[in-house]
Symmetry: D2
Subunit: 351 residues, 4 copies
């Protein structure tokens, strides 16, 4: 059985991507006879070692089934039921996870902040925390800051900005969580080390996305603050997130970072997005909603043109009357990007 | 990288099993280009159709990452926060899921009942519900009965018993949940249809296990009572259980039931367990703790003999001072069973 | 033991008020020998009858210990864990109840809206609900609208506005909750019937405040939608909100509405607030933040003047650098209001 | 309005009791002009001082509206969502609070133990904790032991037994909670100091009941382990348990312990129960279910006799086919006890 081959390029989401061949091969290789369950197998044990090496510090890695699970359980490990989580108003945890963070924390509050280019701005955060009603019993108490790297609009926090946010958070004894659903895309763009973009900048716990970038079913929580490990391990189990055949998730994640595969896949997606964004930006009546820094392209164009594109069967995500999103993947091609540019041009021209 | 080849047979758990080749192949086949996310792909759509055919009624299937997720979310869909769930005192939901049912229901209560052969006995259930403080505001109100088929000890409810439990539950407006972590093993043993063992006997919602019996990471909730579908779909998403690349879970489940694969795999495991149980039962000082009806063998034997077996490196699960569990899998062999029998014999003899 | 007699008037909050003599007397009268517990006594039984008469429809009344309990449990009775509650961004449930609504609903989301004079505006509500992602599984689903009458700033919804909000809510199958912590103050101002301000305008469930206006420890939930009664009764019990000696709470509420006491007390407080607001408004550098429609007076005045007032020992609540709140009570006096006006005048003059 | 004067004595529950005159007077005295809200008033401040003196150590006292709130929130302050609470199978938290402990802890598990005379037996507790699956991720982890003093059947833990339970709990880093709904009855019986029966024996947190023994609406949590205070204070507020007019709850609790009032009231109830129990025990066909050590009398007698007593209108609580409970109160009389004995005698005789 096959998906009907789409006649038009599919830039709807990175969730529509297939699995990269390297990762599929790793799954098959892990399938050799019996292996201990629930993470006691050799692959799973290697996972912590390999990621500790990758991140240049001791980390604990917990594979989970989705980014929502990664985010909500990460936050539940460092936020009290009467705590508050500071995030951007467009953060996925706030807008698109069905209240998962509220549910797993036992009713914590998300404090949504505005911020240019869909990023929390350090001065706003400092001010918001300054205004918080510390110690006042009828106010949810600030416990964590959550940033998304790359953001939901494909913008990227510079390292200095993460570090500044980390410093603000830690000054107040808040944990810093990074939603890295598109971690590799950000890292590929910045060209820095995983350590630089995370714990060295103050990140305590990371939702490490792999599924959008070539894995099959393997996101993970990477814990830098080892105090969070034990409580998290219990929370994961009772959340139904501790896989019996853990080796297959571990094998995916090992292959994902092996020989920098994740960066190569992400760089490919980023490059296509850059090409697409640049091409679209030259068209009349088209305006980029955010700078293209990762694999996402948000453009503003006339509603009528959007209607035409949709009628044509082009796969994209509409995010408003006049806003659409294109997502490039590791398996996208330059030709597809060029085809989209041409289609948009035609839709605008009304031809 | 390979698991070290064990020199002795591994009968520790069905969770140590590899993936059956048919299912691994199905995963690879599903990996062809982009496909819609979150269950809108062709595989996922086929899943409901195929399982509806299999169960001879309209069902909705939700793949989930673990049996714990299947159980806890199934129960959360039909139990109020102030509700109670009646189950056997050895039920997995009560003893080995870290409070998942309590967590996802918002604090419902498990009422654990004793019962011969690790099954709820209909008269006990009737009596327990008769004694329940219906309508009394400071008592958790009976909302569901949960039975495990096959049970944690490998015993199996006859169809008539399920039907009687179903009738008792429905008389009181309770939902009947079946924990089918070893659904195929029970079905293979009974030789009846999936419909007979579930909705025709009153089951409203089923945790359909596949991972223990050859899948990689695909258990599922099968919903017979369609009123439960919508609330469950929201609960799954916020539980982080709605996979973006759903096609790979759907492909596993489709392959699992294709051409009765699941029954063939389970029948194999059952046969090995039967052979193992029969062989062990003939040994001096060995007593079966429960009849061997599925792929589990529980035996009582002297503590010293158990210590010797463990020291030898035989893989099994100790369940008490003098009780151990062996689990046969689809990839277990008769030779391995015979080897275990010989090892136990030797351990008892003290040689 | 006595509180030290304050030398300056206390306009800090209506929570500092004593109990009205009529209510204290009713408590004493209820203290005659044994009486059935948990609401089976004569006082409690009379409560539903008396309030049904008062509201001109069948209502069920549940006394609770605080307004926070009334709000959070009211909302929990009509909002799913994956539901959303629309409220004003200054609503007490959002800003000052420590996440109680999130906790008791099992993690629902508050959607905070701006709106002139601290009230939800019907067009904004209509638009917000129009924009809601109905049926989208990763979005909390609109379940309730909560309005505060009188609002946290003492402004009052006209009946037509409540009715419009009620119609918008019901069109979408949302419940309408009214936080009536200052219900009597609003009612006294509008001069309408309790029925007109609630169920006739679409209110399904009401947090009926009495403690701020002369009761000792008796707020209540008044349920108009009888479908909400049973689930709520269980939730209250497990929340520790079902009093064993319910007669004393019932007696307070009965006395509170007897012979329109609650309206007389509220009218008194409103009149003092009006006098105070009018007097302050004539002062230089003083600006009313909101029209004075109930017993609350919010004024903007120079930070330095506020500092001086605080240094003097005047009891008020500071709500920002240049904003303070005065609250009049049933036991406030015109002389006290005049004294405050004089003090503010002096503080501004810097003398 | 009055309750109809019962023609027969009412021994149904201590919840039917009126308020003792001393406490009613204290409420009235606290009603003098404005006072700071939420526990900043003089009465509330005195409460901690006075109870610290009473308990001979620094304690923090939180008035709450019910015993259920006291128990559930006490436990929530020292039990993790994935924790377990060890209690007797007849404990009120397990049988009669509608799942409050499960709800407020976020889904912890109650482990119910049998034990003679309705008390946890130290050896059973030691054994149960020895068997617990410490550190196993799919098992709720032992976090607290909860004992009830006096128990639901009116039996009393000797000091040495509490101390032994405390030692067992602390050896394992568990908290020890005491449900003291009938704290005064136990204390009056033992004749020891409050300190001896609590923290000196290892109690970390106490549900201090006053309502059953003469207060109006004032139970309390008394915290000995000061680390629990801050988290508890937030949990109470969001549970709707922090009263705005806290002075009236504080005044009740202050009067309750003033001049040993609580012990005098409890001793009176105990004495009546002792008289009643002794009298009933002499009757043919009557058997005490438990020794009468506090104010509760449980007797076994023929079902037919119970039916006759109920038909007569005698107020008691039926607790099984052949078991009834009588509860003596501070306002019960010897005449009433004697009348009950006579009535039971007649019911048994069939006359």
């Amino acid at each position: 059985m096959n998906e009907a081959t789409p006649t038009l390029p599919n830039f709807r989401s990175d969730n529509v991507a297939p699995v990269s061949p390297e990762i599929l091969r790793a799954i098959a290789e892990a399938n050799c006879g019996p292996a201990a369950a629930y993470g006691d197998d050799d692959y799973s044990k290697l996972l912590n070692a390999r990621f500790s090496e990758l991140f240049e510090t001791e980390v604990t890695v917990f594979p989970v089934s989705t980014g929502t699970a990664a985010n909500a359980l990460s936050l539940a490990s460092c936020v009290r039921p009467y705590g508050a989580i500071y995030c951007h108003e467009e953060a996925h945890i706030h807008t698109a996870e069905g209240g998962a963070a509220e549910a797993f924390t036992g009713g914590a509050k998300l404090v949504a902040m505005s911020g240019r280019n869909f990023r929390i701005e350090p001065p706003s955060l400092r001010e918001a925390l300054g205004r918080a009603a510390w110690g006042v019993r009828n106010r949810s108490q600030p416990d964590a800051v959550s940033i998304t790297q790359a953001s939901e609009y494909g913008t990227i926090y510079p390292l200095a900005e993460i570090a500044e946010i980390g410093a603000i958070a830690h000054d107040r004894n808040l944990a810093l969580h990074m939603d890295g659903a598109r971690f590799a895309n950000a890292l590929a763009r910045l060209g820095c080390s995983p350590a630089d973009m995370t714990w060295r900048a103050g990140v305590d716990i990371l939702s490490f996305g792999a599924t959008k970038n070539g894995a099959m079913s393997a996101d993970a929580i990477v814990v830098f603050d080892q105090d969070l490990v034990e409580p998290l391990s219990y929370r994961l189990r009772r959340a139904g997130q501790t896989f019996s055949k853990m080796r297959f998730a571990a094998a995916q994640l090992l292959a994902y970072v092996e020989d920098r595969l994740y960066l190569r896949l992400a760089a490919k997606a980023n490059a296509i997005a850059t090409r697409l964004g640049a091409g679209l930006a030259t068209l009349p009546d088209v305006r980029l909603v955010a700078p293209v820094e990762a694999n996402l392209v948000f453009v503003n164009l006339p509603a009528l043109a959007i209607d035409r594109l949709a009628a044509n069967g082009l796969q994209f995500a509409r995010r408003g009357q006049e806003v659409i999103r294109f997502v490039a993947r590791f398996d996208s091609t330059e030709q597809e990007a060029d085809e989209v540019i041409a289609l948009v041009h035609r839709a605008i021209s009304g031809s």
